[in-house]
């Protein structure tokens, strides 16, 4: 029998699937929502107006009564902001096939909890008690989901990736395109070194311990490229066993959560600047959502604790450049390369498949395009302004309100991580994959630290200023 390639019916079906993806993948919804917000904000700012009214958030407070007064004074804005998010994410949920009524109801609970966390982060003593919103969100979420549990309807709104990807697209508006181009070579070099070494260490350790090659490749990509997303992408490309995919996912989640706490803490102890710490977290965290939680935590620390040099938002910016541009965008190439190796070198599974260059696009994390376009758009809008004009006009009218919206989106995501983490799922992890992955984690963390603090430290410190 011949294969399906070249058959017109299959080609038509594939094209129809590509169009459906525009409404049925959260990457595309992150673009529609995130880029839509940036376009509207830029249009209003160009016309002398701003989205600042709806981009409301708690401000610094000392006494609880102050926070209460703030919320009361801006109550209508908070209701409008809820309406905006609920409409946008509700549309996405409906297109993704979720129950939209249940989604809006559960999103209401998520919004209120996020407002509480946002407010807590603005407490003048929050840094003193280490009450960083991402960490508190994670701890409270994990405690609730692993003790009392959640009703099924409440789980509808826990779409970590949708919120995080939307936040990353909006974040693009705060990063000039020129900065991306300037940082690009260093980012790709540092991330490339760490990804290749980490993959090799995990793969060789795993196969040395007698694990299946497909399992080893799935574990290796999960640790080296983009966490859970990397693991499922390569698992499909090499046709890994389902139970192996489950173990790889559990290992990535386990270590990603450990690193959310460990990386900011160690960075603080080592006195790393925000730029260096962000680059290290971007190199050594496993998932976008977890890494943003760690980077945002370090940004909050830099805001409230003396001794950390660099602008607070540099940790998130350096992380995003390293993780998204340095690691995430290469997943299609990893999947293609491993698919070729699996097809030509490894023992057959009885399932046939043909490696194709189209794999690179099919698995490309599309939300990255929104991130770059948002950056290009705001760079173009502010291109005629000098730094003084930028600070006086573009920052308060355009960039700052978008930063507030992005923080909301990220915090929805951080809370959702905690609420979807189930510790019992770690019980399925066995020793050999745990050892292989852990060896890779150690090499990854140390190599990432060395590159960030010794080899490229000048670059990252400069970026933080």
């Amino acid at each position: 029998m011949s294969n399906i390639a070249g058959n017109p019916d299959i080609a038509i079906a594939a094209r129809s699937s590509a169009w459906r993806a525009l409404l049925q993948q959260d990457d595309w919804w992150a673009i529609w929502i995130g880029l839509g917000l940036v376009v509207v904000a830029a249009a209003l700012a160009t016309g002398g107006s701003s989205i600042a009214w709806i981009a409301v958030a708690p401000q610094k407070w000392n006494q609880l009564s102050e926070l209460g007064r703030q919320l009361h004074a801006h109550a209508i804005q908070y209701v409008a902001l809820f309406g905006l998010w609920a409409t946008l994410f509700g549309l996405a949920a409906r297109a993704l096939g979720l129950n939209s009524a249940q989604f809006v109801a559960s999103f209401g609970v998520l919004f209120i909890a996020t407002l509480g966390l946002y407010g807590l982060g603005q407490w003048s003593q929050a840094a003193h008690y280490n009450l960083e919103p991402p960490l508190v969100a994670l701890i409270i979420g994990a405690l609730v989901s692993n003790t009392v549990g959640l009703p099924a309807w409440l789980e509808n709104a826990l779409r970590v990736e949708l919120y995080i990807k939307t936040g990353i697209v909006v974040l693009g508006a705060g990063l000039p395109l020129t900065l991306m181009l300037w940082a690009g070579p260093v980012v790709v070099l540092q991330a490339g070194i760490v990804s290749l070494v980490t993959f090799a260490v995990i793969y060789l350790t795993a196969t040395g311990l007698g694990l299946d090659k497909r399992f080893a490749a799935t574990l290796g990509t999960g640790g080296a490229v983009c966490g859970v997303s990397g693991a499922i992408a390569v698992a499909g490309a090499v046709r890994a066993k389902k139970e192996h995919v489950s173990v790889a996912i559990s290992l990535v989640v386990l270590w990603a959560i450990v690193m959310i706490f460990a990386l900011p803490l160690v960075s603080q102890r080592l006195g790393l600047s925000t730029g260096v710490a962000g680059a290290w977290i971007g190199t050594s965290e496993f998932a976008d959502a977890a890494g943003l939680a760690a980077a945002q935590t370090y940004s909050s620390l830099a805001d409230g604790v003396h001794g950390i040099s660099g602008r607070a938002d540099a940790a998130v910016n350096a992380f995003t450049l390293m993780k998204v541009i340095g690691r995430d965008v290469w997943i299609g190439i990893w999947a293609l390369a491993l698919s070729i190796v699996a097809t030509t070198r490894w023992e057959t599974t009885g399932i046939e498949g043909r490696a194709s260059v189209s794999e690179i696009w099919r698995r490309f994390p599309k939300f990255v395009m929104g991130f770059v376009v948002a950056s290009a758009l705001v760079t173009a809008v502010s291109s005629g302004d000098g730094y003084a004009d930028y600070k006086k006009a573009v920052l308060p009218a355009l960039v700052a309100p978008l930063q507030v919206l992005r923080t909301w989106a990220f915090t929805f995501g951080f809370l959702s991580i905690g609420l979807t983490t189930r510790f019992r799922e770690f019980a399925g992890i066995r020793w050999r994959p745990l050892i292989a992955f852990t060896v890779g984690v150690l090499v990854n963390v140390l190599l990432g630290l060395w590159l960030s603090t010794r080899v490229f430290n000048g670059f990252w410190n400069h970026l933080a200023q």
Binding site: M1, S2, N3, I4, N7, D9, I10, A13, S17, Q24, Q25, D26, D27, W28, L96, G97, L98, R159, V160, E161, L162, G227, V228, S229, G230, I232, A233, A235, G236, A237, R239, A240, K241, K242, E243, S246, I249, S250, V252, A256, F286, A287, A289, A290, I331, T349, G350, I351, E352, G353, R354, R362, R363, F364, K366, I417, T420, T421, R422, E425
Partner: protein, 77 residues
């Protein structure tokens, strides 16, 4: 939808081509179903993520496979 699938499957079969997993009764690629079968997927990724492309789980061989894959165990929907 079902008619289209049957028609597509028939035309593939008539041409003597090997039917892809996408048209097989053992293939499960729904995002929600995948999130239910792979605990933890929803925590730091998503069944709706672009990186997953159109992969799914083969219930017969218990493997994560691309929709365009083929095998001898194919059974029509």
């Amino acid at each position: 939808m079902a008619f289209g699938t049957i028609w597509l499957s028939s035309s593939v079969g008539e041409l003597g081509l090997m039917c892809p997993c996408a048209l097989c009764r053992y293939f499960e690629s729904g995002a929600r179903e995948l999130e239910a079968k792979l605990p933890g997927l929803k925590c730091l990724s998503s069944g709706y993520a672009a990186v997953r492309a159109d992969d799914g789980i083969c219930g017969k061989r218990d493997r994560h496979v691309a929709a365009s894959s083929t095998c001898a165990d194919y059974e029509e929907l």
